[in-house]
């Protein structure tokens, strides 16, 4: 029998939705079962409706958005700092031999130390609050950015550089028109990794440097009062923000720049 195509689409969409939701339903049922029959008291392992109502309450009263905004601002400041320092250092390392010789060993040891390990030191140096948090986030984000920018510049085909030189490109032109676009796919990968790392560190940093408002602090503070529902609602928001950063910010930037220039196939 002939079936109008719209219903077919709808059926397919509905099927996809069910498939997507099915795992979450299963996990939710398991969670509920564990919350009711498991060994933990409900204070420690709240049921989903408790978490959901805490979530709604925190959103409606504006507490959660406020914390999320503070955290995002901190992330933006730290990440900006890290990317400026990181891209500059990486480009220098890629272009100049002396910079490479001097910086590579320090960067590779520094990269192996979790940025978080510096947190107590930064607290002693810069006090509690925003300054050490932002600096630490920037510091942690710098390493993946440096490494990738450096690799990117080195990966620029030397034929392109020679061709540009032959055609009389000045240093500035060479940099703007060849090195920068050539290295961009790597630089973007570095920025992406840097942002991911900054995000991971920031949440923990907020717990350690006792900023006054922030998602990490919200979760950590909630522990004192055994507000497990608030903690889990906070974690859910953290996951949503992380997912959003990845999907909305980076995939889009990549599409608009390197894919458009035909440097990466999509």
């Amino acid at each position: 029998m002939f079936r109008p195509p719209t219903t077919l689409y709808l059926r397919r969409a509905a099927l996809a939705l069910v498939q997507l939701l099915f795992p979450f339903v299963v996990v939710a049922i398991l969670w509920e079962g564990f919350a009711i029959f498991g060994p933990f008291p409900p204070r420690l392992f709240p049921r989903i409706e408790t978490i959901a109502s805490a979530f709604v309450r925190l959103v409606v009263t504006g507490i959660l958005p406020l914390h999320a905004l503070e955290t995002l601002l901190r992330l933006a400041a730290g990440f900006l700092l890290g990317s400026l320092v990181g891209v500059t250092m990486g480009m220098l390392m890629g272009r100049y031999r002396w910079a490479e010789d001097l910086l590579v060993p320090v960067v590779s040891v520094g990269n192996a130390i979790p940025g978080l390990a510096y947190a107590p030191l930064f607290v002693l140096w810069f006090g509690l609050g925003n300054l050490p948090a932002v600096l630490l986030v920037g510091f942690s984000a710098t390493f993946p950015i440096v490494v990738n920018a450096w690799t990117g510049v080195k990966a620029v085909k030397s034929i392109w550089i020679r061709a540009a030189e032959t055609m009389g490109a000045s240093d500035g032109q060479l940099f703007r028109k060849i090195v920068l676009p050539g290295a961009l796919p790597y630089v973007l990968t570095g920025l992406r990794l840097g942002l991911a790392r900054a995000w991971r560190v920031l949440i923990a940093v907020e717990m350690l440097t006792s900023v006054s408002i922030g998602l990490g602090w919200l979760i950590f503070g909630a522990r004192e009062f055994l507000n497990t529902d608030v903690m889990l609602a906070g974690i859910a928001v953290i996951g949503l923000v992380g997912l959003g950063l990845e999907k909305l910010v980076f995939e889009r930037i990549e599409k608009f720049t390197v894919v458009r220039w035909g440097m990466l196939e999509r």
Binding site: P23, A117, R200, G234, G239, L243
Partner: protein, 257 residues
Amino acid sequence: MKRFVFGTAASFGLAAVIWEVFARSGLFSPALSPSLAAIVPALVQMVVSGTIFVHIGYTLYRILWGLGLAALVSVPVGILMGRYKPVERFVLPLVSVLSPIPSLAWVPVFILWFGLGNAASVALVFYAATFPIILNTWTGVRSINRIWVRAAETMGASGGELFRKVVLPGSLPFVIAGLRQAFARSWIAVVGGEMIAATSWGLGWVIFDSKEFLRTDVMLSTLVVIGILGLAFERLVFQAVERRTVGRWGMIRTAGA
């Protein structure tokens, strides 16, 4: 090689000089930014008295348990996802929602569930390590050349043989890459976890505890130890494993030397 040695020496030399200038500049008091003359003895003292090895032991114990359990669970999950579509459809949405949550966000919850101490740290490392392994293994299995699988089937390989001789080695470069990423993440998680889920041993705990006593020399020595250990794992363990297995089988090019 000669250039590498000189470069490295110059690099660390310069870093040391910059630190010395910074430490003695009076920008921060010497208690906050100790000079190398204070850091080196602190490090030597920790090594001689052996405390640093106990801390290293605890940290490694946590990270190896967490990483080991994660590998034990995640590699099979990743392989099943790569081989069977329904498993992929079930697991992938969960993984993509859970993996952007930084493991350290779970610390307060894990403390409540598992108490302070080893269990919370191991759980944390497990959480941090599991997603990179799953995702990489899954990619690895899907990237196996179709022709290999068909060829093996045509030559009458049984399910077990197909798995052992084609699927497993074929996806191994990705599995190792996943383990590597997992280690990098666990390294962060374990240090952070030890700071917050305070126990009484572990490299992260030393750093955090030294803050109370303003022992910045101990903090900085521990940072150095953490850096060296992290680098050693990356360079010695993972690169060696890579060279022995997939490098040797000619599946990837490994960096020489």
